[in-house]
Structure formats: structure tokens, C-alpha cells
């Protein structure tokens, strides 16, 4: 029994005659053809966001761990795929999926991924990538130019200079953030008199040599958890990530940051980086990037901007003001699989200085030799696909005009949702959005009435409100007609569960937003009823 045979109810589908692939040529010729196209077309017509049972009910179907002996026929596999995979995935094509940083992709993206697979170049070295090495450097240069706007002579000198690097393509934003922080540490604790540098001698020796008791990373309380991952991976530990509280507006407080920088100076604590966020994951806030940049410069600290979400706006002159100050960063992380409409698996980390990665270079005797064009000299990852072509296609096929159109649409939809929330009796807006991420809450009438009278909630009321909001979002996902996500904001007044809408699907309409809110409202009524019914505040929200 193979992984898939379980699912094939019709025994005829599995006729053994299909299962004979006599030669290696047969194995290679095996194709699934364009038959998925129909299934995907149906998916795109389908309104349902989620047609999957909770995984706890579904998991028993995926417990076979015995590998198939004979090959399965292409027809059988296709039947499995269309029924089980397409049928039970999340329908990210739906305009009513408004909850995560994922939107439908332009048609050419699927064509480009096919082309990338067909070429199957490996960007780690020239012998398996050739011209794609130059194209990757060029695309990075184009992003670099949009973000940092260095003079032409800088690019003439550095763009295709194999001894320099303007940035790297990574598999995701986490790797981009890790790259920035790791390379910044390698640079700060580089070789000096009597010391080989941290990349040779390690963190322990580096801290002793440079006379530091501690290393910290400073940024907003809203920093993405990949910063904690970086700190853990780099041996700094989560304790080294110091989260500065946000002001009432949700942005990092520069005054508190300066106090912290002063304290570090006095305590032999090395500040590895100040991190600015251009679009926090939870709320879409853009930190005061210029102000942070001035602080970082004043204290001589590496300035990294996590622009995984918002960095894309820098590519459109019209929208650039949304991420004003981004040019002050030393390094910038941008996810192409977010607002550059590429499929999952491509981000980048841009280096303002073409020499930033110098202390982090990797060399071996079989590739990435000194002097070679091999891009692997500057990446943490090794073998990598030429996914840079996804970005190349977007930059050319949408151009700045096309991208601006798409960004505009997301902001229009954001304004619409905000205005609908303002008119609503059930929901209220939690933050005025900086970008196209909107957080809001459901509030039942009795609490709203307290709030309107200025009577503060008790802890139990607060907890109940959180439980209701969480329950509404979970039921909404399982019901599967519309979707927004939820998060728990850690506020000084306590945890606060909010809905989170991400308006990045430019094909969504105002009516989709109306339908989504109406869906939530109906669920809210039934959830509120259950809360009244149990008449207790220890109601447990299921997983």
C-alpha cells in the first residue's frame, strides 16, 4: 500500500497495467500534464475558503508510512491530488481569504516556476548557473537602487564585481533576517590585532577579546519571531532580544530606545543591531524609520530594517513615503513572496555597503573559490534554485506602473474596511493602520455599553472578550466561507485577542469585505449566545 493507494476508492483506477514502467525513459516521460488546470480552474471559481475538516479528524487518513513498491500510475496520482490535495488545501485564490500575507499570484508566476524547474540551475556556483549569476546580481542591484538610491558610479563599481555583494536571495524572510544579524556580528567582531575574528574563533572568544559582557538586539515589541530565532541560532539566546515597548500608536518608542542604548554603553553591552520594522507582521505598523536611523548612526550601531512586508512599497515612487527612512538602513529584508506577488520561497537581504559580507565569505576548494563569480561565497544557504527569475519577471512584466496599481488597490480596500468598522455596532478598529493590515475586535453590546460609559473592564471581562474573539475566528476558519486571522497583542493592560485582516489581494472587492464582516457577525451572535448560556467566564476555546 502506498501513501496514495489508500485514497483511491475505485480499484479500476489502479489497474496494474498502468503500473509498469519498464525503462528509465518511461520513468522520465511520466507527466501529469495540464490536467491540474481544470482542478485549479474549479478552485478559482469556488467560493469556499476552507473545505477541510479540522486536522485532528483528518489525520487518521495520513498514517501510512510504508513506501510504495511499484510505481503508481499518473492517473491514480492525479486522482489523489485533485481530490485530496486541491480539495483540502486552503483556497488562497478566494477573494474572501483576507487573513494572511498571501494573495493570488499573477498568471506568469506559474509559468516562471515551470521554467525554473526545467532549467534547474543551481545558483551556488557559476558552473551550474552561468548567466543567472549575472541576472541575480542585476535584480538585487535594481532593488538596492530603489531602496538605497546609491549613485550610478556605485553600481558601476560593485554590481557585477564578484569581490563584492549588494545582497543575497534567500528562501524566506527568516533567512534574510538571520543573514543580516549574523553578518553584522561577523563584521563587528572581525579580525583585529591578536584575534582571528569571530568566524574563526567563535562568540566566546570574540566577547572576551572585545571586552563585552553581553550582546543585545534592540527593536520594537512587535519584532517578528525570526529575530528570536536568529538570536537562538547564533548562540546569543532569546534574552539578547530586547523588546522596546510601543507607544499608544503602536510604534516603537525612540525615547525608550535611546535610554536603552545609553544603558548598553555603560554596561559593556554590545548592541548588535537596532531593528526597525516596515510593516509589523501583526499590525502592519511602520516604525519611525528615519528617527531610528539617526539613533543608530549616532550610537554607531548596525541598522537593520525588517521590511519583509512593507519593503515592496519602496519600489513605487508613489508609495515610497509609506516606508520613508528605509534608505538609512545598513541592511533590509524584503519578502518577494509577500507583496512582490511571487510564490512561497523567495526573499532577499540587501546590503547597503558592497563590503558588508566581506567577513562572512565562505570558500571551498570545489566551489566558491576566492576570485570566482560563485554566488555561494556570500550566502548562508548552499544549493539554491534560480528563483530570482520570479522577481525578474515581476519587475519587468508589472513594472512600477503595474505595482503601483496593485498597491493602490490594497490601500483602497483598507480604507473601505476601516470605514465599515467605523459604522459597525459589533466591531471596532483597534489601530489606525499604517499600511494594509487592519486589526479590530468584536465587542458584545454589554461590554460596548460599559466602554461607552468609560467604565473599565474587569480582568474577567477582558478574558471573556479575548475568548469570544478567538472563538469567532476559529469557527470562521472551520466554517470556511470567509477568513481573517487572529493574534494576541501583548499590551501593558494585558493580552488582547484581535482579528487581523490583510488587504493584499487586489482582486478582492468591497463586497467581499462586506460578506466577510457579515459572516463574522453571524458567528459572533452564536458565540455570544453560548457565552451567555454557560454564564461563566471560564469558557474554554477549543484548539
Amino acid at each position: 500500500m502506498s501513501l496514495v493507494e489508500d485514497f483511491l476508492a475505485e480499484p479500476t483506477v489502479l489497474s496494474t497495467s498502468d503500473r509498469q514502467y519498464k525503462t528509465i525513459q518511461d520513468l522520465y516521460a511520466l507527466s501529469l500534464g495540464d490536467v491540474f488546470q481544470q482542478a485549479f480552474h474549479e478552485l478559482s471559481q469556488q467560493d469556499k475558503v476552507n473545505a477541510c475538516r479540522p486536522l485532528s479528524e483528518h489525520e487518521a487518513d495520513f498514517t501510512n508510512i510504508r513506501m510504495s513498491q511499484s510505481p503508481l500510475s499518473a492517473e491514480s496520482y492525479r486522482a489523489f491530488f485533485e481530490k485530496e490535495v486541491i480539495g483540502h488545501s486552503v483556497n488562497l485564490l478566494s477573494p474572501k481569504f483576507l487573513g494572511h500575507m498571501t494573495a493570488p499570484l499573477p498568471g506568469f508566476m506559474a509559468d516562471m516556476t515551470t521554467a525554473i524547474t526545467r532549467l534547474n540551475q543551481n545558483q551556488v556556483k557559476v558552473e551550474t548557473s552561468n548567466v543567472l549569476t549575472l541576472i541575480e546580481r542585476q535584480v538585487i542591484g535594481e532593488l538596492h537602487h530603489k531602496v538605497f538610491g546609491a549613485p550610478e558610479r556605485f553600481y558601476r563599481q560593485s554590481l557585477q564585481n564578484p569581490e563584492q555583494s549588494l545582497g543575497v536571495i534567500t528562501s524566506g524572510g527568516t533567512m534574510a533576517n538571520i543573514t543580516s544579524l549574523s553578518y553584522a556580528l561577523n563584521k563587528a567582531f572581525g579580525p583585529s590585532a591578536g584575534f582571528d575574528g569571530i568566524t574563526k574563533a567563535g562568540l566566546f572568544a570574540a566577547m572576551r577579546h572585545y571586552g563585552y559582557q553581553d550582546v543585545v538586539i534592540l527593536g520594537s515589541q512587535r519584532m517578528h519571531y525570526s529575530i528570536d530565532k536568529a538570536a537562538k541560532l547564533m548562540g546569543l539566546g532569546e534574552r539578547s532580544v530586547v523588546r522596546i515597548p510601543a507607544t499608544a500608536s503602536g510604534h516603537v518608542d525612540p525615547v525608550a530606545l535611546r535610554r536603552k542604548l545609553d544603558a548598553c554603553r555603560q554596561n559593556q553591552t554590545f548592541v548588535l543591531a537596532v531593528i526597525g520594522i516596515a510593516g509589523t507582521t501583526e499590525t502592519g505598523h511602520v516604525d519611525p524609520l528615519a528617527e531610528l536611523g539617526e539613533l543608530a548612526r549616532e550610537y554607531g550601531v548596525h541598522y537593520h530594517i525588517d521590511a519583509a512586508w512593507g519593503g515592496a512599497y519602496a519600489l513605487s515612487e508613489k508609495h515610497r513615503a509609506l516606508v520613508q527612512g528605509i534608505e538609512l538602513a545598513d541592511t533590509v529584508a524584503i519578502c518577494a513572496h509577500k507583496q512582490l506577488y511571487a510564490p512561497m520561497g523567495i526573499s532577499c537581504c540587501l546590503f547597503k555597503s558592497a563590503d558588508f559580507a566581506r567577513d562572512s565569505e565562505n570558500n571551498t576548494s570545489y566551489q566558491c573559490k576566492k576570485g570566482s563569480y560563485d554566488l555561494g561565497r556570500y550566502t548562508i544557504e548552499g544549493s539554491r534554485p534560480a528563483s530570482v527569475l520570479l522577481l525578474h519577471a515581476l519587475l519587468n512584466l508589472w513594472g512600477e506602473v503595474g505595482m503601483a496599481k496593485v498597491f493602490d488597490r490594497g490601500l483602497v480596500l483598507t480604507d473601505y474596511l476601516v470605514s465599515r468598522l467605523a459604522q459597525s455596532d459589533e466591531f471596532y478598529l483597534y489601530y489606525q493602520p499604517d499600511l494594509n493590515i487592519v486589526v479590530y475586535r468584536y465587542m458584545p453590546p454589554h461590554l460596548r455599553s460599559l466602554a461607552e460609559q468609560g467604565i473599565p473592564f474587569t480582568d474577567l471581562q477582558r478574558q471573556q472578550l479575548n475568548q469570544m474573539n478567538a472563538a469567532i475566528q476559529q469557527q470562521q476558519f472551520q466554517k470556511g466561507d470567509t477568513f481573517v486571522s487572529a493574534t494576541t497583542l501583548r499590551e501593558v493592560t494585558g493580552d488582547c485577542v484581535v482579528f487581523r485582516a490583510v488587504l493584499c489581494n487586489p482582486l478582492a472587492t468591497e463586497s467581499d469585505i462586506d460578506v466577510m464582516l457579515e459572516d463574522q457577525k453571524q458567528i459572533a451572535v452564536s458565540v455570544a449566545r453560548r457565552f451567555d448560556h454557560v454564564n461563566s467566564f471560564d469558557f474554554r476555546v477549543g484548539k
Copy 2:
């Protein structure tokens, strides 16, 4: 001027009427269609391995960093892509490309990547991956079962248990090795009385708490450079990677390894891992995996097997003996984009113990919560594509029978090349291969004659031999008719440049190997002539 416009010689191609995409719907509908298919078909018929000039001559074409204002037409982009990208990539479809760990992919892989892009699931959390969460766990379980062969009850307990993990899918082998080493360190230096654990407190505090002066990683001199990358990233520094010399046969010396383990015990040095290699990158050697496993167990050290190349053989009962002892590992890295014939960008790290990742879990308030099915709890990477489907398709569509056929073919081709080298007057085999990687050298008559008389080479002769072999391989790549790679083996007798053939293309024939050797021979003659001509040993090989 856009990135691409430079290349479009025919101004008609760029007719401005093509360049108007009025609506967002137009931008989304933009497709490049199946038109690449013809270009790829031509590529597959083409014998040339490389039709690209040296990048230093080509780089001037890729210096424009100004982003396109208006969108380019699909036709223009296609014209660019077919001419500049397909035409100047490395032709990995050629059966005469025998030099890297890359082979043509079965037809269904392109179909599957298209499907993955169309679904665009994000494996980090259930809300964007649904059933693909279960499928990823199932595929990892299937690999785990083949590698470790745990009893059925283990999989019943752990396979779909969200509190446990049998392994992770990564973007590549480097990330798989990093995951293993980082998580092993987190486990070893976990929380204990009076200590929060390394993930919170950092390496510095952990070493102090556990009373170690140093941390090392032990393995063969042939360890992949990703182990050094891991050590650098983790704050251990390259010095912590201790390379044990290989024996004359090219395998790590277990006696030397035991001595080192003893020394570490005496020096308060923590041994983070013993690393066994199942198929070294340079030579394809398989370390004595069982013996290393016994040593690791005796000393209580984490045992990681870097089976990026050779791990695939564990999936075929017929070939399993090639990587005998792999089941003794605590963690195993396998690259699906190597001998599991998936496109670039998918590897995995398998965890023998379902609790291995416990001390490395990541949680946030917006995803990867405790108790959730979110796979992001156990990965270093964050947002990730559902590339596990590539593996799922292969396991089902090739099955064990199909994979065994493909493995057989590579080994037959290996034997053929070895026999041809034995008959040759120009080349000699450097190592008897363990798997399907063959290293060999060219040797001119006068040196061969010395060797046959048992007269050792002078340093200058050795150097000349290295230069000639390097020059032959570089000319072969630029000539572009056939290809093998080269590496510099660091031997006790000094550096040694060798050719490196990787016989993983099952569609290659014996005749392709003959043609390749003949090509090298002809180049060798001309290179040898140049060496005679300059009549000096300081001849410089160009980059």
C-alpha cells in the same frame, strides 16, 4: 530602459501597444503560456553543455539597475528569456554534463512545481496549509521509516502528533545540517537546575553553566563546508570544526576519531556531534557509518549523518547496503534535489527521536502556538512552500522499483567510467568509488613514466600537474561540449587537483562517457603543449 529592454534588438517586439495593461485583471491575466516548451525542447535536443561566454565578458550586458516604468509585453519578456536565459544557462539536460550533483528531472516535476505555485500553500501554519501539514508529516515519516525502521507503534504514536516531530523539510542540505547541529546543541545545553537553557541564556552562559571550555564538532576531513557555516552561524567558530584525517582509502579514520574523543573528555571540551558522511561531496566516500555510530554511542555524543548525496540509497532495499549503519544516526540530512530527482530547493533533516526538537520549538502569539499543528514550531525557516509534494510525487510515481532502476543505472555508468580509466594512457583513477562519484586525473607521459618507475614527483612537478588538470577542466567548461567538475583534495602529500565526474544522470550512455573522455584528451594535448611551450612551472591558470 528596463532590465530586459537592452536585449531586444528588434524594436517592433516592443511595440508600445503591447505595453498597456489597463486593469489589475490585465496584470493578473498576464501569462507566458507554454511557449517556453519549444525552447526547452530545443535545449533538450541540443548537445552543447555550455554556450555562454565567460561571465567576465558577459557582465557588461547586465549592468542596468533602473526599474522599468511601464510593464513590458509578455512577448518581449519571452523573447528575452528564450534568447538570454535559456540560451546562456548551463544545459543540465545534456547527457554530457557529468560534473555536478544535478541530473535531468522526470517530466512530472515541472507539473508538480506548477501545482505547488498554483496552490501556493505556506507550510508554516495550518491556516495556510491545511491537509499539506499532514502530508508533510507523512512523507517525513515514510523517509524516517526507510532510514531508521522504527516499529509501527512508534509511528502510530508520533507521526501525526503535533507535539512531536520526526524531521523537517528545508530549502537545502546546508539548512538541514544547520538544523541538526543547532537543535543538538539546544538539547545538550537545555534547561537544568538554575539554568534557563541555551535558547534563552545563550552560548556564553551555557558553557559556563555546564562547565565547558570549548565545543567541537568531529568528522572527516571531507566534511562539507556547510558544517563550517553552521559553526560560524552558531557562534562556535570554524575552529570548533575538527577534521579527522582520512585513511589512504579516503574514509575517516575511526582510531584517530577515538583519540580525539578521549582528548575532548580530558579537556572539558564538549563534543557537540560526531559527523558521518554518506557520500562526500568531493569524492562520494561513505564513512564507516556503523563504526562511527558505535563510537558516538560509547561516548554519548550526538551522531549526525550528512547523507545529502547518499541518503537516497536507503530508500531502495537493494541499495541500502551502500549506506549501511545510517540507522544508527540521531539525525540525517538528505537532499531531495540531489538523488531524489527533485528540482533545486528541497532537502530534509530527519530526527530519530520524536522529541529531538523539543528544546528548539518556536512559538508566537500569531502562529505556531503550543498545541497547534503548525509545522513552523519545529523549523528554523518560517514561511515555506509545500515543496514536500515533489517528494510525495516521486515516492509514489517512481516507487522503490523505479528508484532502484535509476540507482542501478548510475552505478553501471560508474563502473564503465572506472573501466575506461583503467584502459587509458592519459588518465588514472584517483580513488575506487564507493558510490557514483569518480575522481581521476590527467597525467602527461613524462610524469606517468616517472610514476611507473616509482620516482616521486618534485613539488614543482606536482604543482604543474595541478595546473594542467585545472586548466583542462576550465577549458572544457568554456568549450562547452562536455563537462566534469574539478576539486582540490587537501592531502598530506599536498594539494591535488582532480577531475570529478558525478554519474547521476540515468539517461546518459556509455558513449556519452567516451565522448567526454575524448574531449578531455584533446584538450589535454593542447594544454600539455602550452606547458611544454612556456617550459616553466609557474604557468598561471586563468580564473
